[in-house]
Symmetry: C2
Subunit: 755 residues, 2 copies
């Protein structure tokens, strides 16, 4: 029933047996060919690894795992099927597995010096070399740059990045004749196809291109082909690309300044702080080709000093990526990000080992390597395993950080406020559009308690590699829901997304940091502004994580100020999880459910219940994973409080049916939404005890608001009052302020006051 070419490998073995015998007796160090392996594993590295075999538990365990995996695959036999499926389908998954095997078996050949692995890599490569010249473009039509082995050049590039490593490992195991077949029938045409024949794929500044660049660059290094290397590093010269062309995610193809190649991809999407503008999920995906190629370049052409490029941006980016994880190591799902991806992924194993080895031996990285329980089977992995064996690991410091966005670091950013051992983590997005994977969610935030989401960012609408779900690719709902503003914890004006959901407009703008201050561990605070999301309107959000001795846990204060030249309706959603427990306002549920709106994502929300704001402070308490949470928000009777559920107009069940709570204020030109979000209590289903099941907050009030200052007062159930004053205009740390509110004088220095 399935369409393999299993026999090809066998034929090749027969065909090439004379050469194979010849190779068997060849000196492994391969002096006559000088310097293979040299890419990731090096000759010197192999020697050192072999001298430590059996002595480094982490390395030995990683090796054993890979050996088991490869041995199992060798048992199954080589399968190189004619390509036909989308991701998730058989041929896709098989070719994906094959390239992983090429790399792994190559490494085993070097480390174990066992020809079984050399032959396996050789036979598989030759099977590919037989098939490749006969292949048409992949039959599945969905991509803007269709591959040959896979439906998109991106996956073909993945293949070459790994296969190059396999080839490097068995380079000296092959005869010249064999190498010539592989290079002429497979590697060179392969490299040309994903570059010259697909400039719309290769010559961009985009994670796709990074894979393409690395793929071409790595095979160039193995083949010692400087012209090809130049193409990888600096792009195709004079490639003709339409300036308005877009890829199938809606991203622009042509780079503004016409730059291309590996260095351009390193230059532009990374900020000096190492934040990658598409977000951590894609940063993780892009990291592997960035790093693996950097490692290869460093090993083969150290004169490029690639790790020092742009002030160590590669190393900074690894640190940024690790900071962009929750307590379980999972990446914050900013922009298009699939939840659950984490620093346990193979890309991050590479990243951590490279960062440790090439980035000054930061011992904190070793504790992450320990958690990963895996190292790369190369020089870097050896260094990490050795250091761990020597007891050098120290805890990796997760901290509050403010990461700039933009290649010059001047296009907004991502602020992360952490309290304690990630007891509470707040992620604030005031960044640039994030290329084609960006969402329209200026000044949105999400909240985590340890590894759990308290207020979620939806992430993407896609099931990567689940073939039943649109071939594992982006689903229609990614555009109609996940990218829309209403899918995020941020303000929506008149039921319309930021920049009207237009990529061209959004790409021109970014939010601005107003101030960021973590000097006082009792109040960590960040404030950002966005002036372009809605013409004529300015939105300004300040978020603080506050630890008050009267409360057992820290709480979040969210102050969202909106000013406009026209009256509008403003919606502020909070996507919580779990079971509503109580609310201090009346709620009406209806006997049939309608959608909240008809477009811009609103068509995907069922309106489950509607309440009217309490006179002073509206409070809503919910229970999730046995913890009690409350949001307390300043409201008036004119405000509507909406309970929603995602999932309307979703004929293929592509969306998760998660709940939401929306504060709606109609017909206002200027207003402040001030809310306290608390995690205040726990429930045990075993002891059946509720502890602190009710909020500590009695009232949240905005007692003063001008263009200059906003003053918010929080009163707790013991009638203790705290006051936050935000300087709306002047964010200078040295400015002295004084203000009289309700006959009380406040004086302070800097952009905020809290007491």
């Amino acid at each position: 029933m399935r369409n393999y070419i299993v026999l090809l490998a066998l034929l090749n073995v027969l065909f090439l047996s004379c050469n194979a015998n010849q190779n068997d007796s060849k000196d492994l160090s391969g002096n006559e060919n000088d310097g293979h392996p040299k890419l990731i594993l090096t000759k010197k590295g192999v020697e050192e690894i072999r001298s430590h075999l059996g002595k480094l538990p982490l390395f030995d365990a990683s090796l054993e795992k890979v050996k088991q995996e490869v041995d199992q695959e060798i048992e199954l036999g080589i399968q190189v099927p004619i390509p036909k499926d989308y991701s998730g389908g058989y041929t896709h998954e098989r070719h994906k597995r094959n390239f992983l095997m090429l790399q792994k078996a190559g490494v085993l050949y070097q480390i174990l010096q066992n020809d079984k692995y050399g032959n396996y890599v050789k036979d598989m490569l030759i099977a590919y070399a037989k098939m490749y010249p006969t292949l048409p473009i992949h039959p599945k039509p969905r991509s803007y740059a269709r591959g040959k082995l896979f439906w998109q050049c991106l996956n073909d590039s993945n293949w070459l990045v790994y296969a190059s490593q396999g080839y490097d490992c068995i380079y000296n195991f092959l005869s010249e004749e064999e190498r010539s077949v592989l290079e002429n029938d497979l590697f060179k045409p392969f490299a040309d196809y994903i570059s010259i024949q697909n400039p719309q794929f290769f010559n961009r500044v985009h994670n796709h291109s990074t894979w393409g660049n690395a793929a071409v660059g790595m095979i160039a290094l193995v083949m010692n082909d400087d012209a090809l290397l130049d193409r990888a590093l600096y792009g195709i010269k004079n490639a003709a690309l339409a300036s308005n062309a877009k890829d199938n995610d809606g991203g622009f193809i042509k780079n503004k300044e016409g730059k291309a190649g590996y260095f351009a991809n390193l230059e532009e999407p990374f900020s000096p702080d190492g934040y990658y503008t598409e977000g951590p999920y894609y940063q993780r995906y892009a990291m592997y080709p960035f790093l693996i190629f950097a490692e290869a370049l460093q090993n083969v052409k150290p004169e490029y000093e690639v790790f020092k490029f742009k002030n160590n941006v590669l190393l900074n980016s690894i640190d940024a990526l690790l900071q962009l994880t929750d307590a379980d190591g999972e990446f914050f799902p900013i922009n298009d990000g699939q939840k659950g991806m984490s620093y346990y992924s193979r890309e991050l194993v590479t990243a951590v080992d490279v960062a440790y080895t090439y980035g000054g031996n930061n011992s904190g990285l070793l504790s992450i390597a320990k958690k990963q329980q895996k190292v790369t089977l190369d020089d870097a992995g050896l260094a990490v395993a050795l250091a761990i064996k020597e007891g050098k690991a120290t805890p990796f410091e997760k901290k509050s950080v403010n990461l700039s966005d933009g290649s010059k670091g001047d296009e907004g950013g991502i602020g992360i406020l952490r309290y304690g051992e990630e007891d509470l983590t707040l992620v604030f997005k005031y960044a640039a559009q994030g290329l084609s994977h960006g969402h329209y969610d200026k000044l949105s935030f999400s909240l985590f308690e340890k590894g759990e989401e308290v207020l979620q960012d939806y992430g993407l609408a896609r099931y990567v590699n689940v073939e039943q779900k649109g071939g594992g690719n982006y689903l229609k709902e990614n555009k109609t829901w996940a990218k829309q503003t209403i899918a995020h914890n941020t303000i929506v004006e008149d039921e319309t997304s930021h920049f009207n959901g237009k990529y061209e407009v959004g790409s021109k703008h970014h939010s601005e940091l107003h101030f960021y201050n973590i000097d006082n561990s009792d109040i960590q605070i960040i404030s950002g502004k966005e002036n372009n999301a809605y013409p004529g309107s300015k939105i300004h959000r300040t978020l603080a994580v506050i630890k008050d001795k009267e409360y057992t846990k820290p709480y979040v204060l969210d102050v969202f100020r909106v000013t406009s030249d026209q009256p509008h309706q403003f919606d502020l959603p909070y996507y919580y999880f779990g079971q509503p427990i109580s609310m201090n306002f009346d709620v009406n549920t209806s006997s049939t459910l309608q959608t909240l709106g008809s477009k811009n994502g609103y068509q995907h929300l069922w309106l489950e219940a509607t309440g009217l704001g309490a006179t002073k402070t509206s409070q809503f308490t919910w229970l999730n994973n046995n913890k009690f949470y409350t949001i307390s928000s300043n409201t008036s009777k004119q405000d509507e409080l909406l309970f929603t559920r995602i999932g309307a107009n979703d004929p293929n069940f592509n969306l998760r049916n998660d709940p939401g709570f929306i504060i709606r204020r109609k017909n206002v030109k200027q207003t402040v939404f001030a809310s306290v979000i608390e995690s205040h209590g726990t429930y045990s289903p075993v002891s059946e005890f509720s502890v602190n099941a009710t909020s500590n907050i009695k009232e949240v009030r905005v007692i003063y608001d001008t263009e200059e200052y906003t003053v918010v007062q929080i009163t707790n159930v013991e009638n203790e009052v705290k006051t936050l004053i935000i300087s709306n205009r002047d964010a200078n740390n040295q400015t002295k302020h004084s203000l009289k509110v309700n006959n009380k004088e406040f004086s302070w220095v800097g952009p905020f006051y809290f007491k």
Copy 2:
């Protein structure tokens, strides 16, 4: 702001100081009073415990934990507030904490021989003795039997069960005068109030009464009051109870045969296999008073031989209770059961320690005690800790079991089919009504994979001790939703619950086992019948857990046969969790949501989508916790396939918004629903690999169906065919059968054939 009587304790100390001094110098072994403690801790036990202090890690850790807890409470000072709240409220939680402290501090006094603890217990008891005579009936009106300290006598009885133990521990620490005050002002009137003054509470066969009986019995044993003990053991003689009176859960108050007291409660609701008819959640709750009183009775009056009563039913019941848990130790939520309750609860710590000590030292129990990381601080706990220290623990064997229901074991039962290390666990309910906590779900089942629910039983609609949710008590939706048939994975005729949801009718009937066979580990099978749920209709369900070497995991085959004298509509729901992935039939979603019906639970279901059955086999695949599941069911184009979500008509957000999949067949007199449920694949968000994402099943067909036999054929994607034949009438294991279907002869012995 709060209404304590903190000062009372202080006054008592002054008032009684002359006695206290006198006691301080008294011999702890208390020879002159002979034999205190004697109830749970014994004098001999205390000596042994003291001789092992510091040597048994589990015991020492348990002791240290209790010491820390009690020391903290002593720091806070004694608080004995005037009762006013429902559960979850301050006075309720405070009095609950107090009784736990009385017991724990009493134990600490004995084990650590430190007067600090003796004084704490004494002062608190005396504070209660001061208050009790002044107390009116508790102000909250909701209970059919209101208490004095709590809103219901049930909680007052909890108090006395624990307080008796505290009193026993400090008996010899008190002067005769003090004891006389406590007994006359507190214990005797307390025992009379919950018994003679509340016969509707005390004289029932019900878990409430068990607490009452144990409470009265334990204080009787401490006070050496044989008349009171007699009342506890055999009930109040000639109590006048209306024969139709009900409690506020809708349960009958008067026992059919007029039996009452501890032994009647032990006799009737337990089957000989130790299954408690209300289900494991309440069995767990009832176990503590059953066991703690049994222990006390065994220690003080061994002549009753309580552990041998009804063929060791108490010990059997502990084993049954442990079998009624999933891989995480959580009880199956049969009938009214709150999810998450588990063998980590304090009641089960007692149960395990008692079962080990008084039930023949079953070493499997020790491995559960190890997981609990806790032992009781008494003779039984010492024995367990000692045995664990000596390395005697062996794994506790979870197995397939068939537990009969009914005091004679002839009222149906609960069958549990387990595969592997609880890789798949199927719970089939063909039991009796289960008293007032029973649900109308004849022949329902639920399915677990390790500790995860695959097809859920909803459990109850209640948030125990969460005061915001109706005082932590049963919610209206427990009756309108959770008890209704449509809330369960079983058949519903004409949108009406079994027995029309009438307790009086349901209580008269029970289902019947047809057969149960686990001889072959490749097919474990159970079959049950229900002839009374719907007048004129008979329903018959057979469930099998099948391990086929062609599949990586076992699957479930569900064959539900319905025959009726009139045409009806039949709905068969499956309450899955997670995300729909694919279906092989067309589905229509609508732009507004309606409820599925208007009563019998249907008013709580939103109808999210409707499909029409595929011609042969309808398949629905979903993803939950990174596992792929598929249900494949025989359908015709006349069948409707409904996707629902719980939560309509739920103005207080009391229900969980879980999804459901319902197969609806209209206007049929006789039909068979045959479905395969598979857990067939996995997804990793870290590697982004899908493994076996699609079903192994191609077709499920009923190829023959008569009153005698039902034949189901399963064809897998490799076109391999398996056949299950069920003998619908004759369940005899020796009967020889032969049957010709589609020109094929089948011959076999016993009630089923599978090949």
